[in-house]
């Protein structure tokens, strides 16, 4: 039986972060669906914002789970979130406008099964394991869906309309003609592998970098938002190949502004929490050594 070694003192309770993350992610995903309704690609950046909301929620879930003394398993929590989430995400893309809801339900089922296996079959017996892995799988599916919507313009597999939003079919220009190509698409070109790691490292980095006796909730969440915006910038650059240049530049600018704000804020918070902030100074004398 694991012993809870750290408690969350002060700060926003986990339940609130969970609800806010879930609601914001779903709203963001549906705002990116405006692309299909209006017939443009300019709303792609809402997908990235949805992914960041999910990542912030997910990192706090890692904190809750890791407070039961599995400190060395922090990066693996990010991997299992996206590993279980990718199944739900790919399956849900078949359902068009309902995709985010299907992804949440399916990811919750997959996460609950994984949590049960970890707790009962592998005998980890961590009280929050099933709940946390359920949350992690939903976070993974929503983040992947958000970044995918940002890179390809839509989260659905083959929505109706004149625009070719598709995860598995891209286009190549041969002699001035546009031909469909599976290799130059989001999944066929395996951009999903890059997005997988962009999300998985971003979600675990917050707690992995801020763990320790001086852990502060606001500093960690700010760092995760910073990592999320950094991932969003990189996704915007990769999206140039699949959506219009104007939409990609808009996504990049939104990502850059968010990243700059969160990065400077994070440095301020680190300055607030650090024992001292020194520039080219020797090691201070400590008694006894």
């Amino acid at each position: 039986m694991s012993v809870k070694v750290e408690v969350i003192e002060g700060g926003v309770p986990h339940q609130k972060i969970l609800i806010a993350g879930l609601v914001l992610a779903v709203i963001g995903l549906y705002l990116s669906y405006l692309n299909v309704i209006v017939g443009t690609q300019m709303f792609a950046f809402f997908g990235g914002l949805a992914a960041i909301a999910a990542l912030v929620w997910g990192s706090h879930t890692i904190k809750v789970l890791a407070s039961y003394g599995i400190g060395t398993g922090v990066p693996s929590a990010g991997m299992i979130a996206f590993g279980s989430g990718v199944i739900a995400f790919l399956f849900a893309t078949k359902y068009g406008v309902l995709a985010p809801i299907v992804a949440i339900v399916l990811a919750a089922v997959i996460g609950a099964i994984l949590g049960y296996l970890a707790n009962e079959v592998l005998s980890m017996h961590i009280p929050v394991m099933i709940k946390s892995l359920t949350e992690m799988a939903v976070v993974g599916a929503l983040s992947l869906m958000g970044f995918s919507a940002m890179i390809t313009g839509s989260f659905a597999f083959s929505p109706q309309g004149s625009f070719i939003f598709s995860l598995t079919t891209g286009s190549v220009k041969v002699l001035g003609m546009s031909l469909p190509s599976y290799q130059s698409s989001y999944i066929g070109g395996a951009l999903i592998a890059t997005v997988f790691l962009l999300g998985a490292i971003a979600i675990q980095h917050g707690f992995n970098a801020c763990l320790g006796p001086g852990w502060k909730q606001d500093r960690m969440l700010m760092l995760v938002a910073e990592c999320g915006f950094l991932s969003m910038m990189m996704c915007a650059i990769m999206s140039v190949a699949l959506i219009s240049l104007a939409a990609a530049i808009l996504s990049f600018i939104v990502g850059l502004l968010g990243w700059y704000y969160t990065y400077t804020k994070y440095i301020e918070l680190s300055k607030r929490d650090a024992a001292a902030w020194l520039d080219a100074k020797p090691i201070p004398e400590v008694e006894g050594h």
């Binding site: 490292i201 970098a209 001086g214 990189m234 990769m238 440095i267 300055k271 024992a275 902030w277």
Partner: protein, 299 residues
């Protein structure tokens, strides 16, 4: 025949690129104290040993390097899909991935150090300024070389995986090679030079890493200088051999028995290396080890 000669040439080139990448990767992670030596750097202030060593913990090395390489490959893939010259695309991809690596390094150092405020470990801004750039330079070399070898596999050898997926696979392999080969050398030989050779790290010495240099205080650039001599090249040879032997057996033996030839040769290579490793281990223990019987180690 020409085809095989061409493929062997590409194999040799990929092996050489992998050697450079492995060496740069290991020096990068040693300067940042990433990977398993990080636990001692993280522990030191808690035991009262305030230090001036860069503590950049970004996941383990394999996942972190999986991201840098997959990101470099993903951006290069996107630029190549827009008909940009592959070399320029790979340079741009590696440059942007290096930027992400630098940002992650600074946030990791600030976060870890700020969370140790209870033990009086200060944040040294000069460490961030001088060491992040050095790790970024090494990271650029490693990312560029690895993405290039992935592109060679894809474009010249006709590997069916797309570039970002190859980047993910080989990035994790690169991180694992550096983490397994070079980091123990840094962690045990550099951080614990005050201990007798072969003594291990007893509990009482936990966190008592070497913090002072021959003159003045030691920082992570000294560690990079130290490991660039043996630890880095050893990691380079490790990753280079992995890439070279993997491609060599595929190029030469894939045609035999519908692919089974390459698999059988792979198993034989693993067996040969197991025998060599065992021989070296026994030889080293006979010649260097102060402990001849296992009972003595427990004291």
């Amino acid at each position: 025949m020409d085809n095989i000669v061409f493929s062997i040439g590409i194999t040799a080139l990929a092996g050489a690129l992998a050697t450079v990448a492995g060496a740069a990767e290991d020096v990068e992670s040693d300067i940042g104290s990433q990977g398993d030596p990080n636990s001692q750097v993280q522990l030191a202030p808690q035991m009262g040993y305030i230090h001036r060593i860069y503590n950049k913990a970004i996941a383990g090395e394999p996942p972190a390097w999986g991201l840098w390489i997959a990101l470099g490959a993903g951006i290069a893939w996107a630029f190549m899909a827009m008909q940009i010259n592959p070399i320029l695309a790979i340079v741009l991809g590696a440059g942007l991935a290096t930027f992400v690596q630098g940002v992650y390094s600074t946030t990791a150092y600030l976060g870890r150090t700020a969370s140790l405020s209870k033990f009086g470990q200060p944040v040294y801004i000069d460490i961030i300024k001088s060491m992040t750039t050095v790790t970024m330079a090494h990271a650029f070399v490693a990312i560029f070389a690895t993405v290039t070898l992935c592109h060679l596999m894809n474009a010249a050898l006709g590997h069916p995986f797309p570039l970002p997926l190859l980047g993910l696979v080989w990035g994790i392999a690169l991180g694992a090679a550096g983490s397994a080969t070079g980091n123990p050398y840094y962690g045990k030989e550099r951080q614990y030079q005050t201990q007798n050779f072969g003594a291990g790290v007893p509990i009482s010495a936990s966190g008592n890493i070497v913090r002072y240099a021959e003159a003045g205080e030691r920082n992570s650039l000294d560690n990079g200088f130290f490991t660039a001599k043996l630890g880095g090249p050893a990691s380079g040879v490790c990753f280079g051999l992995i890439v070279f032997l993997e491609l060599w057996r595929t190029v030469l033996f894939e045609k035999i028995g519908a692919g089974w030839g390459a698999i059988i040769v792979g198993v034989i290579i693993i067996l040969i290396f197991t025998i060599i490793d065992r021989y070296i281990e026994v030889w080293a223990r006979k010649n260097y080890g102060p402990y001849t019987k296992p009972e003595e180690t427990s004291s």
